[in-house]
Symmetry: C2
Subunit: 335 residues, 2 copies
């Protein structure tokens, strides 16, 4: 792989910081690392390979000479800078949801639909965290028989709200233990010792935009345009990894044994058979690593062509930063 010039748009957030770590860990050859952020964060530094690198304020002309820009900013900022990035000739790998449903923008999980990345016109979208983790867990089944529908319930960590999500949970835990009142600003109500069955904005069909991502993004990533997904997104007081309980209906019946073999063989997945005496993962087991861990595969008792399973994955890693860097690596390896 040739040496790459890589920009990180949103280098100071939880996902941007993780992208730096993953680039290091994967040994991606980098001749220039250019951290970019909003005016508020510019002037600070980030650490990359033991060097402190000054963060520049992102502007239209910030992307000149770069091969790739990894995006870890919100939709508005992503939309604002995407044209300038494409214009500069860099490939923009965007973690926001701004372009995920744009037919001109491939939406990619490398293990599942890596080839789609090569159809890009300058932008590649990185999927939603819960979608990536769930789709990784079921992609092996989809190879055995097309998936018709899924019913998914998530158990999503506070990391989905970035560093301020961590801080709010930790502060509330201290308050609860001290018998003090808690304050909520990141989440709609107390998350410590509670769960909140609502993430995102409510749409006309009464699902949230977060919940609809699994269907909308799943259709594109699995190449199943008729896939139906009923998803309930729930925030739980967990720091990093997301978990999903998912019931999958396929065209033909898949046995539990076949499903276990498919998950075991699927790149990027780990079938949990004995994890400290348990045959299932918990979010704590899967934090700070890239694999999606799958357990509790069993027959759906309500539909003979159904299976139900449990999966966990680090939402900042495979659910965001690692998947983006894996897309970059896939592109760069082919030159």
């Amino acid at each position: 792989m040739k040496e790459l010039r890589i920009g990180i748009l949103g280098a100071t957030g939880a996902v941007g910081q993780e992208m730096l770590r993953v680039l290091e860990e994967y040994g991606i050859p980098v001749s220039e690392l250019r951290p970019l952020a909003s005016a508020r964060s510019a002037g600070g530094t980030v650490c990359f390979r033991d060097r402190e690198i000054k963060i520049q304020e992102a502007a239209e002309d910030s992307f000149k000479g770069l091969d790739y820009v990894l995006g870890a900013v919100k939709n508005g900022m992503s939309r604002a800078f995407a044209p300038a990035i494409v214009e500069s000739g860099a490939v923009y790998i965007d973690n926001s949801s701004a372009f995920r449903l744009d037919p001109d923008v491939p939406l990619v999980v490398p293990e599942i639909n890596g080839e789609d990345a090569f159809t890009n016109k300058g932008i590649i979208a990185n999927p939603n965290c819960s979608s990536t983790i769930t789709l990784m867990a079921v992609a092996g089944l989809a190879k055995l028989s097309p998936i018709k529908s899924m019913v998914a319930c998530t158990y999503q960590a506070v990391s989905g709200a970035g560093q301020k999500g961590f801080d709010e949970l930790e502060g509330q835990m201290r308050a609860v233990l001290a018998g003090e009142k808690t304050e909520s600003s990141v989440f709609p109500t107390q998350i410590a010792m509670n769960v909140i069955p609502f993430i995102g904005e409510e749409l006309e069909n009464l699902y949230t935009d977060e919940e609809m991502k699994m269907q909308n993004e799943g259709r594109r990533i699995l190449h199943l345009p008729a896939l139906k997904v009923s998803c309930t997104c729930v925030r739980v007081p967990v720091m990093r990894s997301h978990s999903i309980s998912v019931t999958v209906r396929t065209e033909r019946k898949i046995s539990v044994e076949e499903a276990r073999d498919a998950v075991r063989a699927y790149p990027g997945c780990r079938l949990v058979e004995d994890c400290q005496g348990r045959n299932y993962p918990t979010p704590l087991d899967t934090s700070n690593q890239d694999l999606v861990w799958v357990g509790r595969i069993r027959e759906d008792l309500t539909d003979e062509r159904g299976l139900t399973l449990w999966c966990c994955g680090d939402q900042i890693r495979k659910g965001a930063a690692s998947n983006a860097v894996q897309i970059l690596r896939l592109m760069a390896e082919r030159g």
Copy 2:
């Protein structure tokens, strides 16, 4: 209602203690309250209507003269004493799972199948906590059209493991905040800042016994012997109330509006329309009260005869102690 002589078998546990509070709160006329427990707890006292009452060690002859015995002990102790209770002439309302599937023992949620209580032969079973809360939330829909199947994912509080569950979660939270190692003895691994997708014992079909309760008990309570339920039981770091995300398929299509009306009208349910600006409940909202709160009713996108909803209820109250006392009250009111 005549004055009642009531025994509580297992008076010192979390559920037994709550039964005492509920008897007080409901203003049940009690001429004698007889707290009974294992040898370990006997000799201590419980507080009932500002009186301290000595706890007696439960023995074969402990039940003489009682009208009702409320059971809050494990299956083994329940099985051991049930014959003596029935022999004494008292009605035994048992919170354990020992008799729940016994065709001679009615399994009762008063709002749903209260009439079944009157077919008892001395024992009435109180259902599993998650089953009661879920069935309360869907019982109004079942009146509109029979339920064919449900896919349920639970978010179960540590209270399911009694006082020692509370203590383990609180101790682990302190350890985590102090940066110390946690120890787990009640739960199979750390529950603080984690979720554990396994409650109970694994059966041959790979579901746990806890997960199968919703189907087995739901069939009896809803009088739907062919009901199919795929349930995934997950422990979450919440103190008291259980939450369940459930997708319900009925024989005919029920609209969201019809479902909302049915839940709103159902005794013991509260349809959440505006709870501090939220249109859904969280477990913290529903702790220390008896209603099952329901929100987020929406169409199942994977099945046109399906609906999906979220419900929360206090598992020690409606999920255990309150439901048992409500059965007692129902029986006593009819004399």
